[in-house]
């Protein structure tokens, strides 16, 4: 019987119930996206913290923009694109703060022909031998720059026709470690499957040399990831970061002899001609603070979205109350309490909120993926916690909305309603 009372409201006012679903839907889209991103930023951050990856990016001066992993999207690099000379990279190990350099790895990316069409490829050093005057068996590459890479199989030999296949790409193509694939007409061994949580998961990561040949960029690289030990920034390093020349001689010396990230960047620029170096995704404490602030901001936006949705629900529930004033008056005359009547409206709104919430979190999940791709070039990690949280929040929003509207219920006097005053 009570069920009929609720069902009838849906039947009589499908528009209003539709609006309730829509309100919950929009709120859930926003909430899911915000929550997923904010949880994910924390995870990505924590991962970086643990692994201590590259913290300085060296690029050609002419194109010091955001790193585009897949050079301009498709095909070979456009002619005349600024590049760095691979031969100069060894200079990195002769800078003043060379002992703070944990490692570095060049990057050259583009697309090559495979048996099943063009695929993204990234050329780099895995653990390349780079004999130094004082250290003949020095090796460096992704092994030291990206310790967080998870590899199923083995790391390719930089001198062999071996590659890593990104985990997503490998899944798409059905590749396993040990498979032989064809790239640019050559037989290549998939030494391992790479899970990096970033763009590499969708590409083939190959030794630099063959990639240079495929892309017709012999001896060139697009960027270098450098991992260096740095000391936390202070006032001096911030001033120097803006313009080292503005420092007086004494401050300059002090700055130059301290392992600030800005100092090391500056020295890297001196070592590689035509290069600019800048800190990226820095693990410094200040970055952590920014992430926390960002998460607070997202949380605030989440809260605002919740509040707006609750207001929307409240006005819809109010409409429902007005429309059913006669019934409410009768129920109260028969002895229904305000809470009992309110319950009826909860029963009306909550399923609508759940439906909207379910659809909305699916759509919000999609939105989070899009945002994550734009921001990090990788999909957002899936967090089960988001689902119950969204379901709960949808219900809370609906309940809050109905509760806000419940003032109307208690103000309704059965005498006035029933006698049509």
């Amino acid at each position: 019987m009570m069920l009929r009372m609720v069902l009838d409201s849906w039947r009589r006012a499908p528009g209003r119930c539709g609006m309730m679903v829509l309100t919950a839907f929009l709120a859930a889209v926003l909430l899911t996206a915000l929550l997923t991103i904010s949880v994910d930023i924390g995870d990505k951050m924590a991962r970086e913290m643990k692994s201590y990856g590259a913290n300085i990016l060296v690029e050609p001066a002419e194109q010091a923009v955001l790193p585009e992993l897949f050079a301009n999207g498709q095909g070979a690099l456009p002619a005349g694109e600024a590049v760095l000379d691979e031969a100069e990279l060894i200079n990195i190990m002769s800078i003043f703060w060379r002992n703070n350099i944990i490692g570095f790895a060049p990057i050259l990316s583009g697309e090559v022909e495979s048996a099943t069409g063009r695929i993204p490829v990234i050329g780099t050093w895995f653990n390349k031998s780079l004999p130094l005057a004082d250290e003949p068996d020095f090796r460096t590459g992704q092994l030291s720059v990206s310790p967080f890479w998870q590899i199923t199989g083995v790391l390719p030999d930089d001198e062999q026709p071996e590659v890593l296949a990104g985990v997503e790409l490998a899944r798409q193509k059905g590749w396993k470690p040990g498979d032989t694939i064809t790239l640019a007409g050559r037989d290549i061994t998939v030494a391992g499957i790479l899970n990096s949580g970033a763009g590499e998961d969708y590409a083939v990561v190959a030794p630099l040399k063959p990639v240079q040949e495929w892309l017709d960029r012999q001896g060139k690289v697009q960027a270098v990831h450098v991992s260096a030990l740095t000391v936390p920034e202070n006032e001096l390093s911030r001033r120097a970061g803006d313009d080292p020349d503005s420092l007086d001689a004494e401050s300059y010396d002090l700055w130059y002899c301290t392992a600030f990230v800005s100092t090391i960047s500056h020295q890297l620029e001196e070592a590689v001609s035509g290069a600019v170096a800048r800190p990226v995704w820095q693990i410094a404490a200040s970055e952590g603070v920014i992430i926390t602030k960002l998460q607070w901001l997202l949380l605030l936006a989440t809260f605002a979205a919740l509040l707006a949705a609750a207001m929307g629900m409240a006005s819809l529930a109010s409409g429902s109350v007005m429309e059913r004033a006669g019934e409410i008056g009768l129920m109260k005359a028969l002895g229904a309490g305000n809470t009992e009547v309110e319950l009826l409206f909860h029963a009306e709104a909550l399923p609508a909120a759940l439906a909207g919430g379910a659809l909305g979190s699916a759509a919000g999940w999609g939105l989070a993926q899009i945002i994550s791709w734009r921001l990090f070039g990788a999909p957002a990690g899936f967090n089960w916690i988001v689902i119950p949280v969204i379901a709960l929040l949808s219900l809370v929003v609906a309940a809050l909305g109905v509760h806000l509207a419940s003032g109307r219920i208690s103000r309704l006097s059965p005498a006035e309603v029933l006698h049509g005053r």
Binding site: D8, K332, G335, S413
Partner: protein, 219 residues
């Protein structure tokens, strides 16, 4: 039900709506089991008095005793409980819920009173001669039948007090007679009944006529 004494007593009962004095120091005493008709011109305060007697509204001042309870002193919650337990309401416009069938409309009163008890709801409809209409929606019933559903709903919790505001105002003569018969039967059964009416013929059916004029009792 045949408790001696008065079912309804009011003293200096006054109700004011802004400047309008709808009830002016009404002193009223209705015996237990009495069938009283409340008559008077439009605007004389009949509905206002009925609303207060049936605990739908509270007086501005004055005392009111229903079956020994000083309901004027109850808060809204207390009046609500008293209403659901002790009072049956019959409306001129029936006020049935359009998407519930006759039986469910009656059971709604049980629901808000205590628990739903289908056999006794059927019995209540049976008592008003509607045993063949359980599953009909109000829209499928005639005006007279709807009013009988309304009466069955008022009776299902077996209240001692029954208030009917113009119960036959929307009915033709034939149905009016039927409703009156039911009220008479309830009266024989020992219920206290107060009925508002314009119709002198209907008033004559009651044991006693109370006349209101500008918020005061005339007789």
């Amino acid at each position: 039900m045949t408790m001696p004494g008065y079912a309804i007593e009011t003293r200096r009962l006054t109700k004011q709506f802004g400047r309008v004095l709808a009830l002016n120091e009404v002193d009223l005493a209705i015996k237990t089991g009495e069938f009283a008709a409340l008559m008077g011109a439009s605007g004389s305060g009949k509905t206002t008095l009925m609303n207060i007697l049936s605990c739908l509204d509270s007086p501005s001042s004055g005392d009111i005793l229903l079956e020994g309870t000083a309901v004027g002193e109850l808060d809204e919650e207390g009046r609500r409980l008293f209403r659901s337990r002790r009072i049956g309401l019959v409306f001129q416009q029936f006020h049935l819920i359009p998407y519930l069938n006759a039986l469910e409309n009656v059971m709604l009163a049980q629901y808000y009173h205590s628990v739903v008890d289908e056999p006794s709801a059927r019995k209540a409809l049976d008592d008003v001669g509607l045993s063949h209409r359980f599953d009909h929606l109000p829209g499928q019933l005639s005006g007279g039948e709807q009013q009988r559903v309304c009466i069955a709903r008022a009776l299902v919790n077996r209240p001692g007090l029954i208030f009917a505001d113009e119960p036959t105002g929307n009915l033709d003569e034939q149905n009016e007679e039927r409703v009156l018969d039911i009220l008479r039967a309830l009266h024989r059964d020992g219920r206290t009944i107060v009925m508002v009416t314009h119709n002198p013929a209907l008033g004559a059916a009651a044991e006693r006529i109370i006349r209101l004029n500008h918020g005061r009792i005339e007789s």
